[in-house]
Amino acid sequence: MDSPKALNSLSSAAGENVMDTGSTQETVASEAAPRIPLDIRDHGSVGDAYETIGTPLVENAKMSARKVNVYYGDKQAITDVSLDIGRNEVIAMIGPSGCGKSTFLRTLNRMNDIIPICRVEGEFSLDGEDIYGSGQDTVLLRARVGMVFQKPNPFPKSIYENVAYGPRIHGLAHNRAEMDEIVENSLRRASLFEEVKDSLDKPGTGLSGGQQQRLCIARAIAVSPEVILMDEPCSALDPIATARIEELIDELKENYTIAIVTHSMQQAARVSQRTAYFHLGKLIEVGETKQIFTMPRHELTENYITGRFG
């Protein structure tokens, strides 16, 4: 009995929002009524022809994606998402599990290419250059768009070799001294150097989880990428290690553009300037992080950030 009602009110609310962007107050007010805990599955009502609320597109974007559809076999994982990532900004992508945020992140440096059943449609560009174009080489693309994964995944090599891996395959250093410098700088920028400077030849897998993740960040920045994609980089870490990584993101944004997928809304609020909310493969709302967390305009966004599902 409850769910159809919830569905109706939701779709009407969504409709209002699309038409009238000034109706935030009203939506919030109507939500003051006694709340029924919602089930995520009740929210399939956002139609296929939906429109993202807020400001998905920005001026002078570093990366842009238009009308992205991603399929795993017959299953559609992302529906019609358009999103820009601004220069030197940190954009957070949030949403319940299975909402397509990680999939979207991975389309940005073509990591989905290695999944045979995955099919990507849409237009992507990095500085105006087509990412999926026939002239694009994934080797060069991934050197410019680096990635840090959910689970720390250092190679079973020494700490030094882990960081030197990227520069070596891209031929960035011409002699041992240059390589030493790249390794030291990368470790310093990942604020790991002081902790490991005496044990650079020890295996990277022997570090603690938080250190391993910073090592992975050092490894990613060693090839001087322009964009760093982070896929839930702190989900396997304790609060102290998480705080270190967040500080690091804050410092890195001076030089890099960062897109971070996270399940922690506090983290999104702390580190990002813009936040995008994904829901069941659709990009529901994008806006300034402050606005998203204080005055979400879409009901789904609000339900998610107030912890009513997901």
Binding site: I114, R142, A143, F149, N153, P156, Y165, G166, A220
Partner: protein, 462 residues
Amino acid sequence: MDTPTVFLLLIVLSIAGFFLGRRRSRTVVAGEGGARALHSLPKHYGYMAALWALLPALGLLLLWMLFETSILANIVIGELPASVQQLPESERGLYFNQVVSYARGAVDASQLSDVQVAAAEHYRELLAASGKLKALLVALMAVIGGLLALRRIAPALRARNHVENIFKWMLFACSFLAVLTTLGIVLSVLFEAIRFFQKIPATDFLFGLEWSPQMAIRPDQVAASGSFGFVPLFVGTLLISAVAMVIAVPVGLMSAIYLSEYATRRFRSVTKPVLEILAGVPTVVYGFFAALTVAPFVRELGESMGLSVASESALAAGLVMGIMIIPFVMSLSDDIINAVPDTMREASLGMGATMNETIRKVLLPAALPGIVGGILLAVSRAIGETMIVVMAAGLSAKLTINPLEAVTTITVQIVTLLVGDQEFDSPKTLAAFALGLVLFFVTLLLNVIALYVVRKYREQYE
């Protein structure tokens, strides 16, 4: 009653024990809250009763089967006339064997003396009595065991733990049996080899450069006194194994890499079974393939290039052995490369490495311990391989490292030493045991090295 019937009876009794035990466990708690008052589930009490009925009786049956024949033989021989008793042991055994054959109906009475016929009648009676006694005792044992278990059933009895314990000991007994068998084989080879070394000094065997085990087995035969230098055989074995590994390791490893990293699922689902069929081809088929197809081909090819190639060459045998080992190396390496976590691939590809760089710099180093272990296992298989080399490698024990010549291997020589008429205390026959012992130690050593390599690199990489 014969043994299969007794065994069947035992099974029936123990199944009955299961049902009785289960029922009794329910009746003892019928008044006090039903099955919940029991410590274990009713079926555990059933298992317990069944095992108590089965195991001791089964043990008795096995013991009976082990000692029945020798005890009966002693009784019957003891009743034979004194003239027979005084015969030498081997002749007395022959005499008694005729009795047993007659009792079984294998020979007719015309070949036997009256004494033997009478003894055979007695033997037959004893056998029938023993069968009845066996069935009776085993059944009694099963019933007593089952009843004891049934009597013990009470709500507080921890039947579950009891049954678990019995199973643990049964599993232990089985593994112990495997260890004992291995130990038995090793010891028997060792003792025979020691007898060999009493006749031929160990230094002559281990460091001798000539192998020609021709010895006179009858005094009137003319033959060389024989020399038992094992080095040419060992070198031949290593040569053929080396040729085999040169073929098998690159092909096997690279096909494993292709299958696990590049191949589409469809290609893999066809190719892997086909390659595994290679592993299923009997080695004797590989053997005549080597001898009749590959060896002549190698010889002609060599001659067309102006090389002199023996018609049975180490190269031909090694090539075919390599082909035989390919699926072995491939299958092991494929499993190991697949076991490297996907996060490693993602990390490397995400850095902009190509697939090739990822394989060379990340996957292979991470999989190296397993791959080395697999290759060493393949080597010990190559060293122990017999059929192919018997057919294709020849018999001449030449000390050479030229793969175009005929060489012989340890396994080939073991076969030739033991084929045909033998005298069991001649050094020629005993040499087979010494060779077997050496072969055993070489493969053991390889396995130990494999373990060591795997452990060393694992420490480094994990």
